[in-house]
Amino acid sequence: MSVFQMDQLSDEEIDHGAEEDSDKEDQDLDKMFGAWLGELDKLTQSLDSDKPVEPVKRSPLRQETNMANFSYRFSIYNLNEALNQGETVDLDALMADLCSIEQELSSIGAGNSKRQITETKPTQKLPASRHTSKHGTLKGLSSSNRITKPSHANYSLDDITAQLEQASLSMDEAAQQSVLEDTKPSVTNQHRRTASAGTLSDAEVRSISNSSRSSITSATSSMDSLDIDKVTRPQELDLTHQGQPITEHAISLRCSSKQAKHHIDFTEEQAELTPHSYLDRETSLLLRNIAGKPSHLLTKEEQAAKLKAEKIRVALEKIKEAQVKKLVIRVHMSDDSSKTMMVDERQTVRQVLDNLMDKSHCGYSLDWSLVETISELQMERIFEDHENLVENLLNWTRDSQNKLVFMERIEKYALFKNPQNYLLGKKETAEMADRNKEVLLEECFCGSSVTVPEIEGVLWLKDDGKKSWKKRYFLLRASGIYYVPKGKAKVSRELVCFLQLDHVNVYYGQDYRNKYKAPTDYCLVLKHPQIQKKSQYIKYLCCDDVRTLHQWVNGIRIAKYGKQLYMNYQEALKRTESAYDWTSLSSSSIKSGSSSSSIPESQSNHSNQSDSGVSDTQPAGHVRSQSIVSSIFSEAWKRGTQLEESSKPQVPNEKASTAEVCTPAAAKTGSS
C-alpha cells in the first residue's frame, strides 16, 4: 500500500474507547458548529485586549463531566452574551492579528520543523507498514475527518474529552497521547489533522508548529513573551509531565497568557470567545443597500461598512484556508525507491510534480508525470496536471494495491510536441515545421471552441464478462465515443453512442493479451475513476497498433479536457524553461518542447533518469519550499524572496532528506 488511506472512515479504527459511536453523527453537527465558531473565536480573540475575558462565566461549566456537547452549549451561551452586549469589534485588530499569526507561523513553524527533523530522525527508521499499524490511533482518528470537511475540527474537542476520561494511561501511552494531544490545538486552529497520521516525526513537527501557533493565538496580549523554546520541545515537556500529560501540556501552551488555566479552559476558551458578532445588524443592512453602487456614491458610513466587509472577506478566506485536508502519500520513483510526502487537498498534480522534481533533483522536464497504476485491473493513467491529486487518490480503496509512480513519460505531452500526428487524423507520422506546429495547436486549442480531432476506425471491443473481442467501427466526437451499428452508414444520424466522456477517464491497459486474450497489447480502458475492481461498467478497447492507441487516448483527452490540456502544457513548459535558467545547464533531462521525436513507440518508457543528471551537491537554489500560505503570496514572492530565504535554512534539511531517499519508509516532511 503506497498511500496511507487515512480518510477512509472506519469506526473500529478509532482507538478511543471513550468515544461513543452511536450518536456520533448527531454530535458531529453540534461540534462542527462549535468548531466553526471556535475558528472565529481565535480570530476575534485579540480584538479586545483591554477587555479581559471574565473567568466567572466559565466556572459553572467547568464542572461538566459529560463534555460531549461542550462546544455546542458554549456556543449558545456565548451567542446570547454577544448579542446582549452588542459590542462592536475592531476589525483592524482582527486583521493585524491574523497577519501576525500567519507570519509567525510560517517562520517559526518552518524553522522548528527543520530542527525537529534532524532531532527525531534516528527514531523513525520504522518501515511504513509498521508506522501505519503502530499509529493506528492516529490514523483512525484522522480518517474520521473524511465525511464532511467542516467536521475536521470537531473531533478535537471530542478527543480531548476522551483524553480526559482516559486519565489512567500507561507511561508510553501517555507520551504518545501527548503527541497526539499536541496536535489538537492544531486541529482547532488550523485543521491540519491528517498531518498527524503520517509518521511520528511528522506528527511532532506539526505539533510544534501548531502549538506555536496556538500559543500565539491564545496569548491575548503578550505575544512577544512567548517562550518558543518550550514550545518547540513538546517531547521534553511530555516526558516531564507524564503523569497528567494533557493538563500539564495545556498549561505549557498557555504559559504566556495571563491566567494559567486548567486544560478545560483551553477547550472552553475556544467556544467562549467565539461568537462576537462581526457585523452588527445595521452594518449588514447597510452593506446590502450599497451592493452595486459605485464607490464614489457611497456615504462615509457606507464606505466604512464596505471596508469592514472587505476585511471580513479576507478573514473568511483565511478561515477557509485553515480547513485544509492533508494526505500523506507514497510516491514510487522509477528506480524502485519511493518517497513519502504530504499533499494537501488543494494541490494540483502540477504542484506535486514541482515538489517532487525539487526534491528528487531529477532535473526539470516536461515529461515528468504522476502515473496511477491500478494493478488489480492492470491499467494505468497519467494524471493530468490540472487534476486534484487528493481527490483522485481518495478513490482508491483501503487495501488498494494501487501505486502512484513518478516517472518520465513522453506520451504525456507528445500531443503538443508533434501535434501533426494527433490532430490531423492522418494514418502516417509526419514531420512538421515548428512554426506550423504552433499554428496547428493554436488553431485547435485557441479558437472559441476546441476542435476534437477526427478519429475513427475499427477497434476491438471486449465483451462484458467474457474474454472475447468484437470489431466495431468507432468514431470520436466532442460529445463522446460512438460506433456505427452493423449495416448502417457512417453518418451522424445513424451513430450509436458508446460512451460519453464526462464520467470516465481513459487508461492504458497493460498486458491484456494474457489477461483478457486481447488481439494486441495496445489496449485502452474507459472507466469511472471510482471503480477499482472488475466490473461490467469498465469498457475495454483494443487497437491494432500503438499509433492508433495513442491517437485515441489523446483524442479522448482533448475531447474531455479541451483547452485545459493545452494550458497545462504551456504551464509545464514555462516551469521547465524557468527551471532551466536556474539550474544553469546542470540538468540533463531537459527537453525542449518541440525537438523530440514522433509518437512514442513504447508506452512505458521509463527512464531511470531521476538521479542521473543531478548530483547531491547541486546548489539548493532551485529548491522551492511549499509554503503553508503559498496561495496568499504572489508568484513573484515565491521566486524572489522566498528563494533566498528558504534556501538558507533548507540546505541542511535538503541534505537530510536526500539521504532519506535510500530508506523508502523514511518520513520526509520537507517544509510543508
Binding site: R313, S479, Q530
Partner: protein, 663 residues
C-alpha cells in the same frame, strides 16, 4: 458654360443634351434635360439636376447611376468624358441608400436602409453597425430563394416587420450605450422592441412549420444555398438588387472572432439563432445525444428569455455576493441563537425519511419495485426493510457523491422515478427510487442532485432546487408532454415544454413527445445553472465542435476527373468529398497553401500547396467567384489579431476576395 448659342439658336460650343431621370430606375420617372459638354464635371451636373428639379429636398444622398454600364458616377471631379458618357447614356439620379428587407439569422424580417452604391462589404459593415453586430466581416448577404408559386396561395401569417429605416447613425463612432442598449435604439418604443428582437432569442418554432420548411436531404442539397451569396466587392445595385428586395443576412464565414457575451448581445443571439436553425433544419448533422443537449439548451435559453432574466447580474460583483451569503449565514446563526430551535435547524443537516419503492435491476430477477424505509442523510442513502429496523443495519447504504442522477418522470402517467447510478470501487450500482407524488419527488430529487455534487441538503440551494423541480414538473403538465400527436402552435410551446419545437424533424418522427421530454430534461439538468448568455455560448460551442460544422459545400469537377465531386470549404481546410458516398477523399489545409489562382474564362480555380501539390477544379454549382471569395475570406479572417481591435483592413479583404473585375 455649356450651352452657348448663336443668334440662330445653334449651339456654338460642343455642348449636347443629357437626359437624367430622377428616381430609382423607373422608366416612367420624370426626367430633366441638361445641356452639358464633355468637360462638365459630375459635380456640376449634379448641381444642375437639382436646380432643374426645383424641389426643396435633402439631395445629399443622391447620386447618378449609369444604367448601361451598371455603375455609379461617384467621382464628382471626374468629367463626363472621363467616364465616357455620351448623350445616349441612361442616367438615373437617385438615392444611394435604399430600403431593403433583411431576413435575419433569427428568421425575423427587418426593414432598413442599406447602401446601394458602396461595395457590399462596406454596406454589410454599415448594416452591422446599425444593428450592433461586431465583426461584420464574418457576415454577408444572400439573395432570398425564389418563392415557388404556392399552391392555392397558402395563408401566410402576417409577420411583424421591424423597421429601422428612420434611424440614422452618426458615422464612424461606435454607438454609445444608453439604458442597456445602443443609444440609437432607445429613441422610441418601436426601436426598443426592435432591439429586443435582435438581442433576445426567439421562442422555439412551430413544429409544424419546422416540418414544412425545406431540409437538405443530401450533400447536393446543401450546395444549393451557396450560389446565392452576393459578391462582396460590388454594390447591391450592380448585383441587380432593387429597393424593397428581401435579402438574407447570415454569418458566412464560420470563424467567430472574440465572442464576448458582454459586448456582443446581438451578435451572440443571432449566431445562436443561426446555429439553432442550422441544426433544426438538419443543415449540420448531429447525433441523438447531441440533439438532446441542443434541445435542453434551447429550452433553457427560451425559459430564461421568457422569464425576462435577460440582464446578467452585472451591478453587484460576485465577491460581494459571496460575502453576503457568508454574512447571512453568520447572521442567521447569531440571530437564531435566541431560540434553540432555529439553531437546531441550522446545525442539523436536514434528512429525508420516507417510504419509497425501490427497484434494483439485476440479471435474472423478476422482482419489481418494493416498498422500503429510506433514509437520506448528508450525501448517503440507506434503506431498510421497514421503519422498525431503521436503527439497525440498512440493507444497503449508498454514498451518492459523484453519482449520476437521471430523472424518469411521466407526469401524466404519475410516474416519478429517480434513477441513480452510484459509482463504487466494485462498479456502478443502479437503483431506482419511485416517489408517490411530485412533492416527494422534488425533495428527493433535489437531495440526490446536491449529493451527487457532494453537497448536503443543508446547502442553501436546496430549497430553490426543490422549487425548480416542481416548476419543471408543472411545465410538463401544461406543456402536454403526452399529447404527441398534436403539436401546438408557437404560443403554446412558449409556455410549456413542447419538445418537437426543439429537435430536428427526424427526431419528431423517431420519438414520441413523451419519450423526448424525459431525455431533454435529463440533459437539461446539466445546463440548468447557466445564465442566458452562457447557455447561448455553450450552444454555439457545442455546434462548433460538431464534425460537420462550418463546412460550405460546392459541387466541383476536379481537373482530370470525369465526375462531379463536392468541395467542402471550412475555416482551415478544403475537403474533397465523394458526391455519391459522402466520404472524405482528401483534405488540404490553408496553412499549407502557397497560392491560388482563378481563371475567370474557363471558371477554374487552381491551388498550389506546399510540396508542389497542385489542385485545380472548375465550379459547377456556384460560380468560381463564390469559391474564390470563401477561400480569400477565410485567409483574411485568419489574419485578424486581437491587438488590432475593431478596425478592418478592407483593402486586404477586397484584395483577397475580389479581383475579377480588375482584369
Amino acid at each position: 458654360m455649356a450651352g452657348m448659342k448663336t443668334a440662330t439658336g445653334d449651339y456654338i460650343d460642343s455642348s449636347w443634351e443629357l437626359r437624367v431621370f430622377v428616381g430609382e430606375e423607373d422608366p416612367e420617372a420624370e426626367s430633366v434635360t441638361l445641356r452639358v459638354t464633355g468637360e462638365s464635371h459630375i459635380g456640376g451636373v449634379l448641381l444642375k439636376v437639382v436646380e432643374e428639379i426645383k424641389r426643396k429636398q435633402d439631395w445629399s444622398d443622391h447620386a447618378i447611376w449609369w444604367e448601361q454600364k451598371r455603375q455609379w458616377l461617384l467621382q464628382t471631379h471626374w468629367t463626363l468624358d472621363k467616364y465616357g458618357i455620351l448623350a445616349d447614356a441612361r442616367l438615373f439620379f437617385g438615392p444611394q441608400h435604399r430600403p431593403i428587407i433583411l431576413r435575419l439569422p433569427n428568421r425575423r424580417a427587418l426593414r432598413l436602409r442599406a447602401s446601394f452604391s458602396q461595395p457590399l462589404f462596406q454596406a454589410v459593415a454599415a448594416i452591422c453597425r446599425l444593428i450592433s453586430i461586431r465583426h461584420p466581416e464574418e457576415l454577408s448577404l444572400l439573395r432570398a430563394p425564389e418563392k415557388k408559386e404556392k399552391k392555392k396561395k397558402e395563408k401566410e401569417p402576417e409577420e411583424e416587420l421591424y423597421d429601422l429605416t428612420k434611424v440614422v447613425l452618426a458615422g464612424g463612432v461606435a454607438p454609445a450605450l444608453f439604458r442597456g442598449m445602443p443609444a440609437h435604439f432607445s429613441d422610441s418604443a418601436h426601436t426598443e422592441a426592435c432591439y429586443h428582437m435582435l438581442s433576445r432569442p426567439q421562442p422555439p418554432p412551430d413544429p409544424l412549420l419546422l416540418q414544412r420548411l425545406p431540409r437538405p436531404s443530401s450533400l447536393l442539397d446543401k450546395t444549393q444555398l451557396h450560389n446565392r451569396w452576393l459578391d462582396s466587392s460590388r454594390c447591391l445595385m450592380q448585383q441587380g438588387i432593387k429597393a424593397g428586395d428581401m435579402l438574407w443576412l447570415r454569418f458566412k464565414y464560420y470563424s467567430f472572432f472574440d465572442l464576448d457575451p458582454k459586448t456582443d448581445p446581438v451578435r451572440l443571439t443571432q449566431l445562436y439563432e443561426q446555429a439553432r436553425w442550422d441544426l433544426l433544419l438538419e443543415e449540420t448533422d448531429c447525433t441523438e445525444e447531441e440533439m438532446m443537449v441542443f434541445a435542453a439548451l434551447q429550452y433553457h435559453i427560451n425559459k430564461l428569455s421568457q422569464s425576462g432574466e435577460v440582464g446578467e447580474p452585472t451591478g453587484t460583483d460576485r465577491g460581494l455576493d459571496d460575502l453576503d451569503a457568508a454574512l447571512n449565514n453568520l447572521e442567521v446563526k447569531l440571530e437564531g441563537s435566541a431560540s434553540t430551535d432555529v439553531l437546531d435547524n441550522l446545525t442539523t443537516i436536514p434528512e429525508l425519511k420516507d417510504h419509497l419503492r425501490i427497484f434494483r435491476p439485476r440479471k435474472l430477477t423478476l422482482k419489481g419495485y418494493r416498498q422500503h424505509w429510506v433514509v437520506f442523510k448528508e450525501t448517503t442513502l440507506s434503506y431498510y426493510k421497514s421503519q422498525d429496523e431503521a436503527p439497525g443495519d440498512p440493507i444497503q447504504q449508498l454514498n451518492l457523491k459523484g453519482c449520476e442522477v437521471v430523472p424518469d418522470v411521466n407526469v401524466s402517467g404519475q410516474k416519478f422515478c429517480i434513477k441513480l447510478l452510484v459509482p463504487s470501487p466494485e462498479g456502478m450500482s443502479e437503483i431506482y427510487l419511485r416517489c408517490q407524488d411530485e412533492k416527494q419527488y422534488a425533495h428527493w430529487m433535489a437531495g440526490c442532485r446536491l449529493a451527487s455534487k457532494g453537497r448536503t441538503m443543508a446547502d442553501s440551494s436546496y430549497t430553490s432546487e426543490v422549487q425548480a423541480i416542481l416548476a419543471f414538473l408543472s411545465l410538463q403538465r401544461t406543456g402536454g408532454g403526452g399529447s404527441g400527436n398534436h403539436p401546438q402552435g408557437p404560443d403554446a410551446s412558449a409556455e410549456g415544454l413542447n419538445p418537437y419545437g426543439l429537435v430536428a424533424p427526424r427526431f419528431q418522427r423517431k420519438f414520441k413527445a413523451k419519450q423526448l421530454t424525459p431525455r431533454i430534461l435529463e440533459a437539461h439538468q446539466n445546463v440548468a445553472q447557466l445564465s442566458l448568455s452562457e447557455a447561448q455560448l455553450r450552444f454555439i460551442q457545442a455546434w462548433q465542435s460538431l464534425p460537420d460544422f462550418g463546412i460550405s459545400y460546392v459541387v466541383v469537377r476536379f481537373k482530370g476527373s470525369r465526375k462531379d465531386e463536392i468541395l467542402g470549404i471550412a475555416n482551415n481546410r478544403l475537403i474533397r468529398i465523394d458526391l455519391a458516398v459522402g466520404d472524405v477523399v482528401k483534405t488540404w489545409r490553408f496553412n499549407n497553401m502557397r497560392q491560388w489562382n482563378v481563371n475567370w474564362d474557363i471558371r477554374q480555380v487552381a491551388i498550389e500547396f506546399d510540396e508542389h501539390i497542385n489542385v485545380a477544379f472548375s465550379c459547377v454549382s456556384a460560380s468560381c467567384r463564390i469559391v474564390h471569395e470563401y477561400i480569400g475570406g477565410y485567409i483574411f479572417l485568419s489574419t485578424r489579431e486581437r491587438a488590432r481591435g475593431e478596425e478592418l483592413d478592407e483593402d486586404l479583404f477586397l484584395q483577397l476576395t475580389g479581383g475579377h473585375e480588375a482584369f
